[in-house]
Each structure stands twice: as structure tokens, then as C-alpha cells.
């Protein structure tokens, strides 16, 4: 029979306690040089010509000629210098010398030409202005190329900062092999994680840690719990693994570091230009004035959003002059309706026998959290006397109805950096643009002319041409901007020096050290 005295018992307990700690120590040591970042979907093989993963995963591996810096400044990437011809019909690039892809293939003019020709002049990528205007590429020297265009594209340099399909793949890479010149090299990928190792030959600022693990965690609560448990180091980023403001508050109170920076995309309430009710400017004005944007930012975004009435935030280049956000004014909203020929009060409005009742199309799948914002706006408009019927639909229905303007009100978002302002303006405010299931925020023949002029105008006149578009949108109450959501990340205490890259399409690593 086993005998257990007090001394043996204490010794055994101490021994077991020590053993129980070992796995944790081993686990921590095993990840000492690894940054574990949550992603909401698997990366796949990072095919640059296909939409297989979030853009941020691509940017870890593939480089661009030009990088998007803070506030839209252009920074040298694989091109160290560039010159745009006075007529705007050609752009010359000095390519960075001594750079190789991670498989050893040198990056030179031939490799650049091979990459650019994969998407320039290809119909699938005509949504990129520079691809649509492409004429030819001339190799001037082993490290110098000139891109010739059929017409000037003022946003050409900004377009060269985007991720897919613009970034550079090794011409020697076999199909399905993601080989770039970026700071990271793909070691392995599966449906649950992608493992990257540091590219020690990277030409730029190298990561201070050796490995980057992108862990696939689709559920936001699971991501937060994994961060708490120390199984993840970083979560967040709208296009990486979104973190809700409320969850961020909870994590902040538990000792996690919350990094919030002004966003680059605006959440906009769109008025259908086909809806008879919304064609009435008085109704649009009443809605514009009847919404308390500050309350939306405070109540639903916990302060991690900035109220706005401008289409683009100041973080986007040529975003136009700033308009002060007006306080909610129910009396002014009702006065606008009265001036527009509507009769009524807070209990309801009528005009020519028609009751003021609007359909608010909402899809949680398309825009998570939108139903709560819609409910709040519904309550605000109810006090004005505008009856709002929220129609909650699935993604497919939203994608079917939005392009047809089959709604009165619905939510839109601008694309954000580095796509704006040219991206959203050219797609969401032009009658002839093909935005597929995304639909358009507002279209009008007068607006088409203004946008076309703005997008074709370069140099010093560009800002004025852009401002003319913004002025027209504001004067006609063509859209109802609500808030600019902040870029929100939560970081484990073992991560120091976490700073956000210029866009959420890039993965953060610069300046990070691991404890």
C-alpha cells in the first residue's frame, strides 16, 4: 500500500507544479522570435491576379515600385525615383539596384516589364486607370523603364501603390508559388495558418523578429480570447481581422494595448437616385440634418470613429476643404420638409397624398454592425417624423438590389487609402462605371462631368477640380456622410513599438520588438 507522509506530499505537489509550468515556458520560448497575427481568412497561394486573400497578406511578401506613405505621400519602393513627362503620357522609373526575389531571381527592368504586362492593358484590370490607359513599356537600361500611356492618368503614381495586381512576383516562380522581394518569405500555408520567415535579403527596414505567423481566426470573440490567452500577439485592422470598438474597450481594460489612428474610409448613407422619395432634395436635407453623427460615433463606435459630413477624410490626399459637422437639428430638418412642400410634424409627413416613408436596406453580411446603426438612425428620424422601414437582407440580395438602386437608403463606404479619392470617385459617383455588386453612392449627369474633369486634371489644378466635385455633392445633399471609423488594433503586452503602417492593406512589423 502506498504511504504518503507530509514531506512526500509537499515534494510531489511542488514537482507537479513545476512540471505544469514547463509546457508554458516551452511554448513561450518557442514563440519568442515569432509575431502571431490574426487574419480572418486563409491566405491561399497569394496569386496576384486572383482575389484569393486579404490584401495585407500579399503586402508582406510582394513589393511595389512606389509605397504609400502617411497622408498619401509617395515613398520609394522598388523604384528609387520616377519622372512624369509634362504631357503626362509617359512615366520613367529608376529601379532599385541589387534587389533579388527570394528565389534569387534578380529584380531588373526585364522582371519589371514581365510583371507590369501581366495586368496593364488587360481588360480584367481596366478599373485601374493606368492599366486602361496603357500603351507600352520601354526598357531604357537594365534598371530603368519607361511606361507609355495613351492618355494622362493623374492618379497613376497612387495607383502603383496598390497591392493587387500591381505588386511584383518573381518571373521564375512556378504557378502557386508566392515569391516576391518583400520583407517576408512564405514558408508554408494551410487553411489554418500561414508561416512566413524573415527575408534577410530585403532591401528595406528588416523585421527585428524572425517569423511571422498569420493565424486564421474567423470569429472576432475567438480572436480576442486568443489574444488574452497569449496565443496571438496582434489582432485588428479592417481588412486583416476586424476588431470592434466595444471589444477594444474590453481588451484595454484587461491590459492589452489598443492602437487607434484616424481612418481613411468614410461610412456614408447613400440616397437612391432612382427613388422618387429620395429625388426630393427636401427629404435628403431632412435626413442629413436629422442625424446625430456625434451620437453614432460615441454610442456605437465607443468614440473610435470621427463624425463627418465630408466624403473623404483629411487622411486622404486631395480630400478637399473641411466642413464643420453640424449639430443635429430636428427643427431645421422639419423646416426643410415644410419648405419642400411637405405637410406634417413629428407624427408624420405627407405631400400630394404620399406619406413620407422610406425603405432602409441593410445587410449585416455586407456591413457588420450596420443594423444597429440603422436602428439608431431610424430612432433619430422618427423624432423628425420620417418613418423608416429597415429591410434586413442577405449579402446576395444586397448585391442584387444595390446596383439597381432598389432602395431608398443604404450604407456605403469609400475604399480608403491608397485607393482614394480617385478610386471611390471614379467608381461610386459615375453613371457609366461598372462597380458590379457594390453599386454606386450617387450618380447624376452633372456629377459625371465634374468627376471626369477632376480625374483627368493633374498638377496644381487637381485640387480645385476635386473641390468642385465635393461642393456639388454637398450643395445637392447627394450623400450623407456619417463617420470615419478609426483604424483599430489590439496588441499583447509582449509586443513593443507597435506602429501602424499607412494603410490597413499593409501588415504592421516596422519598429516592433518582442518581449
Amino acid at each position: 500500500m502506498l504511504k504518503l507522509d507530509r514531506r512526500s506530499f509537499l515534494a510531489t505537489t511542488a514537482g507537479l507544479s513545476f512540471l505544469s509550468v514547463l509546457p508554458r515556458v516551452a511554448f513561450a520560448n518557442g514563440h519568442a522570435d515569432t509575431l502571431r497575427v490574426a487574419i480572418s481568412g486563409e491566405t491561399g497561394d497569394l496569386d496576384l491576379l486572383q482575389n484569393v486573400s486579404t490584401l495585407s497578406s500579399y503586402s508582406a511578401v510582394f513589393d511595389a515600385l512606389i509605397h504609400y506613405g502617411p497622408g498619401g505621400t509617395l515613398e520609394p519602393g522598388l523604384a528609387t525615383a520616377w519622372t512624369v513627362a509634362e504631357d503626362g503620357l509617359s512615366i520613367s522609373f529608376d529601379l532599385r539596384e541589387g534587389v533579388s526575389f527570394s528565389d534569387g531571381t534578380p529584380f531588373d527592368a526585364t522582371a519589371a516589364e514581365w510583371n507590369l504586362k501581366r495586368w496593364m492593358g488587360v481588360a480584367d484590370f481596366s478599373w485601374i486607370g493606368i492599366a486602361d490607359a496603357y500603351e507600352s513599356i520601354v526598357i531604357d537600361a537594365p534598371n530603368k523603364i519607361t511606361l507609355k500611356l495613351k492618355r494622362p492618368v493623374p492618379a497613376a503614381l497612387l495607383e502603383l501603390t496598390i497591392v493587387r495586381p500591381v505588386r511584383f512576383l518573381s518571373p521564375s516562380a512556378a504557378a502557386g508559388q508566392p515569391i516576391g522581394t518583400g520583407p517576408w518569405i512564405v514558408e508554408s500555408y494551410s487553411s489554418t495558418e500561414t508561416v512566413l520567415v524573415r527575408n534577410d535579403a530585403y532591401w528595406g527596414e528588416k523585421p527585428t523578429f524572425a517569423r511571422l505567423e498569420l493565424k486564421v481566426v474567423p470569429d472576432e470573440l475567438a480572436r480576442a480570447n486568443a489574444l488574452r490567452a497569449g496565443e496571438l500577439d496582434v489582432i485588428g485592422g479592417d481588412w486583416v481581422a476586424a476588431l470592434s470598438p466595444r471589444r477594444a474597450q474590453a481588451l484595454a481594460s484587461e491590459g492589452m494595448t489598443i492602437v487607434a489612428e484616424p481612418g481613411t474610409a468614410t461610412t456614408i448613407l447613400g440616397f437612391s437616385p432612382n427613388s422618387p422619395m429620395m429625388q426630393d432634395k427636401a427629404v435628403r436635407d431632412a435626413i442629413f440634418l436629422g442625424i446625430d453623427r456625434t451620437a453614432v460615433a460615441t454610442v456605437l463606435f465607443e468614440g473610435f470613429a470621427d463624425p463627418t459630413v465630408d466624403i473623404f477624410p483629411a487622411t486622404v490626399p486631395t480630400a478637399g476643404s473641411r466642413t464643420p459637422v453640424p449639430a443635429r437639428d430636428i427643427a431645421a430638418a422639419q423646416a426643410a420638409l415644410t419648405a419642400g412642400g411637405w405637410a406634417g410634424d413629428a407624427s408624420g409627413w405627407t405631400k400630394d397624398g404620399a406619406t413620407l416613408e422610406i425603405a432602409f436596406l441593410v445587410s449585416e453580411e455586407s456591413f457588420p454592425g450596420s443594423r444597429r446603426i440603422a436602428e439608431m438612425i431610424q430612432g433619430m428620424l422618427m423624432e423628425v417624423g420620417v418613418k423608416t422601414n429597415i429591410e434586413t437582407v442577405d449579402n446576395a440580395t444586397m448585391h442584387d438590389r444595390r446596383p439597381k438602386f432598389d432602395y431608398d437608403l443604404t450604407f456605403f463606404g469609400t475604399y480608403g487609402a491608397p485607393y482614394d479619392p480617385h478610386g471611390s470617385l471614379g467608381a461610386s459617383f459615375v453613371t457609366a462605371s461598372d462597380t458590379g455588386p457594390d453599386g454606386k453612392i450617387y450618380v447624376h449627369p452633372d456629377l459625371d462631368v465634374l468627376v471626369a474633369t477632376a480625374l483627368e486634371t493633374g498638377g496644381d489644378a487637381r485640387e480645385g477640380a476635386m473641390q468642385a466635385v465635393y461642393d456639388w455633392l454637398r450643395d445637392n445633399t447627394a450623400a450623407c456622410p456619417l463617420v470615419v471609423t478609426q483604424r483599430l488594433w489590439a496588441v499583447h503586452p509582449r509586443v513593443a513599438g507597435f506602429t501602424l503602417p499607412a494603410t490597413d492593406y499593409d501588415l504592421p512589423f516596422k519598429g516592433i520588438t518582442l518581449g
Binding site: L221, S244, R246, R247, A250, A295, T298, V299, L300, A359, E364, G369, R371, R372, A374, E375, M376, Q378, G379, M382, N389, I390, E391, T392, V393, D394, A396, T397, D400, R401, K404, D406
Partner: protein
């Protein structure tokens, strides 16, 4: 009925009473938003606290009971009516008509009701159905998903009753089809189907909540338990009551209705029917005895 589990059945009756009298029971407008009172705990001002828009939880629970009750009654009545008419017609007419109708019923029964309702809600979300509110779309979808059970049951009762001698006697006496159906067959059909429907009420309340949970049911700002549940999920870490309160209400009502149906099934076979059945059985046995004696003689 004295042996019935009244304590467990109480939530079902309370649910019905609250549903009927909810306008007088609500302490606040369930849609009224108060940004100065967000996510408050229970207190004198708000007995069950407030939600993320400062809306009174007690009033929303009460309002949600009415939403579910009204929808449930509409669906049950409509599904019963459709099911009984189609099932009885199939059973009474027989032949190829019965074959076609029973095939339709079998197809409808082959898929879970909720799956059918979800598919129909998908169809109804198209622009052609804009004239219907989300609430009515849900009622129509659930009705179309629920009728087949009652049709199948009704047909079985009709076929069984048609074998009875008294139906033949009625025919011989020149009774019309409508008279035979309404006076002799329909009471039997309803006696069984209504009992079954009482057990189905809980499942329906759950289906209504499920559709709302998936964002396909009742439109805001109308309070509904399933929608309250899904809305509360985002705040489960900070204020679990937003999920627990509607969850408990839903659980209590569903369990209670299920037990009610079970109690009906076990004990509430109408006495008159039972008596007639017994006398018929006795008469049949007596006839068999007479026949046996005649054969022996």
C-alpha cells in the same frame, strides 16, 4: 387535468396573457432610445435594465411576447386551415387527386420546416415582394413551411373515418358530401390536429425567434426575442443580461408549450370521442361474437 404540471405550464399561460395585455404592461416605449442610459443594469427606472441604445429591456421583453404571440397565432391558424383543407380533401376524394396531393405533402415533409422557411424568406427578399413587410413575409414563409404536417394528419384521420359504417349509413340515407364532411369527419380531424398544434406552438415561437436571430424576421424597431438575442451577443462580455433575459424567456415559453402539448397528447383526448370509440369497439366485438355463434351453429 388535476395531474397536469401547472407550475411548468405557467410560462405558456403567462406568455399568452402578457401577449394580450402587453400595451398596458409596458413601462416605456420599447423603441424609445435614451443615449444617457446605455447598458444600464436593473433598477427602479428600468426594471430589467437597458440595451445598447438605452431602450427599456422590460418593455422590450413584454413587447417581444406580443410579437411572438401574434405571429404564432397567425401561422398556426393559417397552417391549420391550409393543412386541414388540403389533407381532408385528399383523403375524402381519393384516387389520383389524393396521390398528387399526398406526394406534394410528402415532398414538403421531406425537408425540415425551418429550412423551407429560410428558403422562402430568401425568395421573398426579392424586389417582387417589396409590398410585403418583413413581418408578413415571415408569417407567410412559416405558414407555407408548417401546413404539411397538419395536412398529412388530416388526411389520415379522414381515410380512417371513411371506413366507418356510420359514414356509409349517412351516404345510404342520401346525405351530401358537405354534410358528411362537416358534421361527421371535420370534428374528428380538428380534435386531433388542434391537440397537435398546441404542442407545435413552442416550436413556432422558436422558429420565429430563429428567423429574427438570422436577421430574416421582424424588422426593427419592433421588439422580438430572437433579435434581442442576436443584438445582445455583441455585448455579452459587458452586459450578459442582454442575452440571458430574452434567452430565458424563450426557453421558458418553448419548454412550457412542449409540455402542454405532451399533456394534451397523454390526457386530453376528448371524453366524448373516447366514449364513442369505446361503444363502436363494443358494438364491433358484439357483431363478431354474433357472427362467430352463427358460424358455429
Amino acid at each position: 387535468m388535476k395531474n397536469w404540471p401547472w407550475a411548468i405550464l405557467a410560462p405558456a399561460f403567462i406568455f399568452v396573457l402578457i401577449g394580450i395585455f402587453s400595451p398596458w404592461l409596458m413601462t416605456h416605449d420599447p423603441a424609445a432610445q435614451d443615449y444617457a442610459a446605455l447598458l444600464e443594469g436593473p433598477g427602479w427606472a428600468h426594471w430589467l435594465g437597458t440595451d445598447y441604445l438605452g431602450r427599456d429591456m422590460f418593455s422590450r421583453i413584454i413587447g417581444g411576447a406580443r410579437t411572438s404571440l401574434v405571429a404564432m397565432v397567425f401561422v398556426l391558424v393559417a397552417a391549420l386551415a391550409i393543412g386541414v383543407v388540403i389533407g381532408s380533401f385528399a383523403g375524402y376524394v381519393g384516387g389520383k387527386t389524393e396521390l398528387v396531393l399526398i406526394s406534394v405533402i410528402d415532398i414538403a415533409l421531406a425537408l425540415p420546416s425551418l429550412v423551407i422557411a429560410l428558403a422562402l424568406m430568401g425568395v421573398f427578399s426579392g424586389a417582387n415582394f417589396d409590398w410585403m413587410s418583413d413581418y408578413w413575409k415571415m408569417i407567410v414563409a412559416l405558414t407555407m413551411a408548417w401546413w404539411a404536417n397538419y395536412a398529412r394528419m388530416s388526411r389520415a384521420v379522414v381515410v380512417a373515418e371513411l371506413q366507418q359504417p356510420y359514414i356509409e349509413a349517412a351516404r345510404v340515407m342520401g346525405a351530401s358530401h358537405i354534410w358528411i364532411f362537416t358534421r361527421h369527419i371535420l370534428p374528428h380531424v380538428l380534435g386531433l390536429v388542434v391537440v397537435y398544434a398546441s404542442a407545435d406552438a413552442g416550436a413556432l415561437v422558436l422558429a420565429i425567434a430563429t428567423l429574427s436571430f438570422l436577421g430574416l424576421g421582424v424588422a426593427p424597431p419592433t421588439p422580438e426575442w430572437g433579435q434581442m438575442l442576436v443584438d445582445g451577443m455583441s455585448y455579452i462580455e459587458e452586459n450578459a443580461a442582454l442575452v440571458i433575459i430574452p434567452g430565458l424567456a424563450l426557453t421558458a415559453v418553448v419548454v412550457s408549450f412542449n409540455l402542454l402539448g405532451e399533456a394534451f397528447a397523454l390526457q386530453k383526448v376528448p371524453r366524448a370521442v373516447r366514449g364513442r370509440l369505446l361503444s363502436r369497439k363494443k358494438a364491433a366485438r358484439a357483431a363478431e361474437e354474433v357472427a362467430r355463434k352463427v358460424v358455429e351453429a
